[in-house]
């Protein structure tokens, strides 16, 4: 599929989702996820408040260590602590939220699997959680690999620096592209973990460019915030450290919007591909 045709397919996938943005019911899973993210961020930032401390202090100690419990060090460690917590949330909670949303999008787009939604999700819960583990591990591995590049080389050589950043970004988009249909396979077709991952890779391979574009456009749009998060030292040194928490809150809001678009567009592509295969 050439680039223009792929862009057209990706564009049509997004366009078919736009009318659904006006239906509040479709936002519900994403709003619940955003609320969980805000609560997690709130616990981290307000860990020192007497009401939050019994949960906040152990959480900070676990995610960032004792040094993160000092001001303004908390804000230096905040993005990494938040990311670590989000990895757990992604596996245990976001996987379910995406499944619920996929089911809702599928029904609205004309695919109506038998049974009530909660029953269907509850039945597939272990599979949904397990299917989200490999991409999480892959992203962890990518971060570890990027961390292996010597710090001096990254600091002194802009080509290496931007090469590593670009490489990691590309790899993350590729990983997410190849597993993007796994949830749909589980929740709509009742696949097992291995079958869902295998078939997701297969669908992505056959619809590579549209899938890649559907995932890449939001990820690239979010990159400026991610980039700024890598320079937290500047915020602590030059601005108010609390700005970092504000940026993370902004990122959650952006992820809410882009999450809606990605899940909707991926569901649309999945239905198009499975229907055309049939």
């Amino acid at each position: 599929m050439n680039i223009f045709l792929s862009l057209g397919v990706a564009g049509r996938a997004y366009r078919s989702i736009l009318p659904l943005m006006l239906r509040p019911a479709h936002w519900l899973p994403f709003l619940v996820l955003a609320a969980v993210q805000y609560v997690a961020l709130g616990i981290l930032v307000a860990f020192h408040q007497p009401v939050v401390a019994p949960i906040g202090v152990p959480l900070i100690r676990l995610a960032g260590g004792d040094k993160a419990m000092h001001y303004p060090m908390l804000f230096l460690y905040l993005p990494s602590m938040y990311s670590r917590i989000m990895l757990v949330v992604a596996v245990l909670f976001a996987s379910v939220v995406v499944a619920v949303a996929t089911l809702r999008f599928a029904r609205t787009l004309g695919f109506a699997p038998a049974g009530r939604a909660p029953t269907s999700i509850r039945r597939h819960l272990p599979t949904l959680i397990l299917v989200s583990v490999p991409p999480t591990l892959a992203i962890l591995a990518l971060s570890w690999l990027a961390g292996q590049v010597p710090t001096d080389l990254i600091l002194n050589n802009p080509k290496v620096r931007w090469g590593v950043r670009g490489g990691v970004l590309l790899a993350v988009v590729l990983v997410q592209s190849f597993v993007s249909y796994a949830t749909a396979w589980v929740v709509l077709q009742g696949h097992s973990v291995v079958a869902a991952l295998r078939d997701s890779c297969r669908v992505t391979a056959r619809t590579f460019l549209p899938t890649f574009l559907v995932i890449a456009i939001p990820v690239v749009a979010l990159y400026p915030i991610s980039y700024v998060m890598q320079r937290v030292d500047l915020f602590v040194g030059k601005l108010r450290p609390e700005t970092i928490a504000g940026l993370l809150a902004l990122r959650i809001a952006a992820e809410l919007l882009f999450g809606f678009l990605i899940v909707g567009a991926v569901t649309r592509l999945f239905l198009w591909r499975t229907e055309s295969a049939r």
Binding site: F47, H48, P50, A53, P54, V57, M69, H70, Y71, P72
Partner: protein, 514 residues
Amino acid sequence: MKARLAVVLVLAGLGACGGEALIGARYRAEREIWHLNEEYRRLDIKPQLVGPDTWRALAVRYEDMAASYAIAPKTDTADTVAHEVRTLVARSLISAAQIRANIGDSLQMHANYRRVLANFQDIPLLVAEVVLAQGRIAEAAQKWGEAASAYSNIVEHVAPLPGDPGVPGAVLELPLRVARLRHQEIVQAVAAGDTTGARAAARAAYADAEQRYAYWISTQPQTRLALEAHLHLADTAADQAHWQVALQELRLVEKQVAGNKESIVDAGNVRFSIALVQNRFAPAESTRATLLSLLAEYPQSPAAPQALLALANQAARLGATNDALDYLDRLRDDYAGADQLNAEGLLTRGRLLERESRWAEALDAFRNLPVRHPLSEPALQAPLEIVAHYTRVEDTQEANAALARAEREYRQLLARYPAHPITLSTRTKLVQTLALQKRNDEALTELLAISDALQGHPQGATYMLQAARFAYNQMDDHPRAAEILARLAKSYPNMDIGRWAAAEATRLQEGGSQ
């Protein structure tokens, strides 16, 4: 069984909550002091533009922060978090005291320092910081014995650590400072009529300083501490006129640092110190030889232009005008980047030429100073040098013209740079110019304007006192002097100088009414 387990869990939870509450308190205290310090740094960028009320408000916030997070010391357990909170509280009180000192509120300053000394003995470094500050205050008030005792106390309790930004970094110089303060006490003892005790105390203090430096050298040889201790040992010896010992120590240091590019001590600077010591006791020729050797061996050292200026001054003293001018030429040509030294060099050149009756060239040098080295002290001094020349040759007309020109230049400079590090110096020179023109009222008004500009700062009190003295001595206007002293007392009620001014104003007013 279940109920018991629940009770145990609740108790464990409550126990954990206690520790977590303290961690939360530490975080909040850190956040508050961080933002206060940021505010302090922001205001301190141009402190002259900040009013005393703003500073006072900041000091109050520091004091409030200390009151909010005050917790008693834990003597039974080594509670790190509690200790950290207490350190923040003590640090906050010290910052408040520093601000109070800057705005001349010595009562609150002393109160804050006393609180640290009374309640934070478990934090020795901060106690030492307070003692150091108290020593400096005593020194500024010329209470030499009190200052020496404070510094000795620090030396007894804190180990030196050169390069440290806190008290440990200041410890190394304290034994010598104590000895010098004890020596200063001899002057006070002269007034009392018995110097025997003071002389013995000074000798003991110098002996103690020598012992301490020798001890630090022997315990940590080949370290920065040892290197700097050698330098202080040289100063200690020089103070006591033990010139050979001083030279020996300096040569030892030079040997260690010569060729070592990473050393924090510059070999050229050490050689310059050797020349300064030689200048005190040896023939001029040996000093000259040392300075010339410095130029030959360490031409890149920051001491090299200083050596040229020193050579020029020495040649000028010995009457070798041409040699002096040659050195000044070399300073100008080879070290053009040394702006401050070149400004001093040009002033020296002008004075030298004036002394040699080469007035046209001297005048050229003086006139060039503000052009080549604007905003420097020598450039401010140059117009007054011209005035001094015409006064010396009794050319009243030219002297008056030079005074008018000097006044014009100072006023232009003030109009162009109303808030600059040299503004104060320029205004002081303007006062001098007005006084030389016998425009005493204007000079007094300017002095009072300077003190008003420094309102709330100890320096403002000094200028107001200067104005009172001017009214008393130059204008013979005792009521005006009393009025200024009363104003000084009102503006600085919490400073020693304010209390003294109140008594003096009353004395003058009573003298006037009698």
